[in-house]
Amino acid sequence: MSNEEKGQWVYLVVFAVTYGAYLVIILGQLGQTAPADIDYIPVMLGAIGIGIVLAIVGRIVVGIAGGIAAEMAGQDDGQDADVRDRDIGRFGEYVAGTVLGVGMIVPFVLTLAASDYFWIANAMYLAFVLSAVVGAAVKVVTYRRGF
């Protein structure tokens, strides 16, 4: 497994887990508090921030670990992205962009309907997460199945 593929696994897991944690916290309050009264902003910004930091740190760790493993094995391959990685990356980003574009229809409609900020922000966050997760998943599947 190349470092690029491992990196996509990191993105997939990190964004799914941080969004899952966000959902658990917010859904726990949704049953007891009205959506307009839920203090979701710090939790959402925290989840986004932690997700970004974990993704960066995870990617760095994967890169360092891959470099050490290659050094120990006496190989110099599998470290730098090549043309296949870039092809797969472009395909994944194309799918992710499509998901984001379609996903943004929901917050757009909610905005036109003058819905509560809570629902608009959450619909946007969900669209971003879906885009990131689907993009990473498509890349992982493409690495496995072929391209």
């Binding site: 497994m1 391959d77 043309v83 296949r84 990685d85």
Partner: protein
């Protein structure tokens, strides 16, 4: 399950015939990762025309000796 491709290749045989060249050595010669050679060899990635020529050059053979395309009609080119 590997994605079916109509492009077949003889890379494995050619590596064997060239002093059992490893996938890592071939990858280093054409400037890609070993994973890319594995994917091409297994029919899971169709290389660009330029990379296909690089692979043929690495074995000092023509493109036809490395890659074949089986058209849907059954003809092989």
């Amino acid at each position: 399950m590997p994605k079916p491709t109509r492009v077949t290749n003889q890379i494995r045989r050619l590596r064997f015939e060239h002093d059992e060249m490893t996938q890592a050595e071939l990858a280093q010669r054409i400037g890609v990762t070993r994973q890319t050679i594995i994917a091409i060899e297994g029919g899971r990635y169709s290389p660009s025309l330029e990379m296909a020529f690089q692979i043929a050059n690495a074995f000092d053979v023509t493109l036809d000796d490395v890659f074949r395309y089986e058209s849907p009609e059954g003809a092989t080119t």
